[in-house]
C-alpha cells in the first residue's frame, strides 16, 4: 500500500463526513427560503433515484438496449411486492428477498 493510496482513502473518508453532515456542520443560522423548504419534499427521493435508477437500467455506460436483463425483472418484482405488501410490515425486507428470488435464477441460471 502506497502513501498516495492511503491519502486517497482518508480523503474519501473526509468526503463521507462532509457530505453526510453538510448542512449541520456550521453553528450559524441558515437562511432558508420557502422554495428550498418546499424543494425538500422532492429532493431526497430525487437524489436517491439519481443513484439507483442507473444501477438498474444502465449497462456499459448507456441505457440498456435489451429487455433481457435480470436487473429489470428483479427490481420490478421487488417494487411490485412492496406495493402489494405496503402497510403490513417487512415491506422493504420482502422487496430484497422477492427481488433476489427473481434476479438470481435469471442472472446466474439464464445468463441475463
Amino acid at each position: 500500500m502506497e502513501w498516495s493510496e492511503i491519502f486517497t482513502a482518508v480523503g474519501l473518508g473526509v468526503i463521507t463526513l462532509v457530505t453526510r453532515c453538510f448542512f449541520f456542520i456550521s453553528d450559524r443560522a441558515l437562511p432558508f427560503p420557502s422554495w428550498a423548504q418546499r424543494g425538500l419534499q422532492y429532493a431526497p427521493i430525487a437524489a436517491l433515484a439519481a443513484v439507483v435508477v442507473p444501477e438498474i437500467v444502465v449497462s456499459q455506460g448507456t441505457l440498456m438496449t435489451t429487455w433481457q436483463d435480470a436487473r429489470l425483472f428483479g427490481a420490478a418484482a421487488g417494487a411490485g411486492f412492496y406495493f402489494y405488501r405496503r402497510g403490513k410490515g417487512q415491506a422493504v425486507l420482502g422487496t430484497i428477498i422477492v427481488g433476489m428470488a427473481v434476479y438470481l435464477p435469471l442472472h446466474v441460471g439464464w445468463g441475463w
Binding site: 453526510r20 453538510f22 449541520f24 429532493a43 431526497p44 427490481a75 421487488g78 430484497i96
Partner: protein, 244 residues
Amino acid sequence: MFFDPANFRHPAFRQGMVDTLKVAPGIWAWGLMTGVAMVQAGLSPAMATLMTLVIYGGSAQLAAIPLLTAGAPVWVILTTAFCVNLRFAVFSLHLRQYMMAWPRWQRLSIGYFIADLNYVQFVHAYPQPSEDSDGQRSEMAYLSGNCFLNWIGWQIASLLGIVLAAQVPLQWGLGFAGVLALVGILCSLSHTRLRVVSLAVAGAAAVAAFGLPLRLNILVAIAASVAVCLVMEQTSLANNEASS
C-alpha cells in the same frame, strides 16, 4: 453517538436496532459484495480493509474502484465520490432541524454514520423534531441504535467479503441486493404523486446525462427534478394532490 450510555441505555436505541434489522440482509449482502469487488478489481487486501473502515459508503467505494485501478488523479476520485454522495447532503438539510439541538461534535460524530437507510427510518420514526430535551434524547438514541447496527453489520460483511474474495464469484451479482434495498427505500419515500414525478424525472435525467464526467449526472438530475416538481406544485395537479 452510540458510545454514550445516555443513548445506548435508552429504550429508543433498541427500537432503532430492531428497525435496522428489517433491511439488514440487503445491506449485509451489499457490504459483502463491496468487499469482494474491491479485491477482485485488484486492490490489495490492506487497501480494501482501509477503505472499508475509513470510507463507510458502498456507492462511493464502488464508484472509486475503477478510478483507483486506472490510476486517476486524486481530485477526480474525490469529486466523483462527492457527487455520488450528494444525496447525503440533501438528507443533512432535512436532518438539520433535528441536529441543531446538539453541540457540533455530537452532530459530526453521529452524522458520519447516517447512511440512506438510517435517514429514511429516522424521519419515518420521528416525522417532527421534538421541542423538549426528553424527546431530543429519544431521537438521538434511536438514531444511534439504528446507525450502530447498520455500521457494525456492514463492516463485518465487508471484511468477510475481503477475506472470501477468491471464493465468491462476482458474476453471481449478490451486490444487486444492495440496489434492491435502495429500491425498497425509494418505494417507501414515494407516497405522494409529486414524489413519484420527482423519482421519474431524476431517474430519467440521471440516465440521460450518464455520459457526464465526475458523476455530475446526479447533480443535473436533482436540479432538474426539484425544478420540475416546484413548477408542477403551482399547477392544478397540486390542487388535486391536496384534496386527495
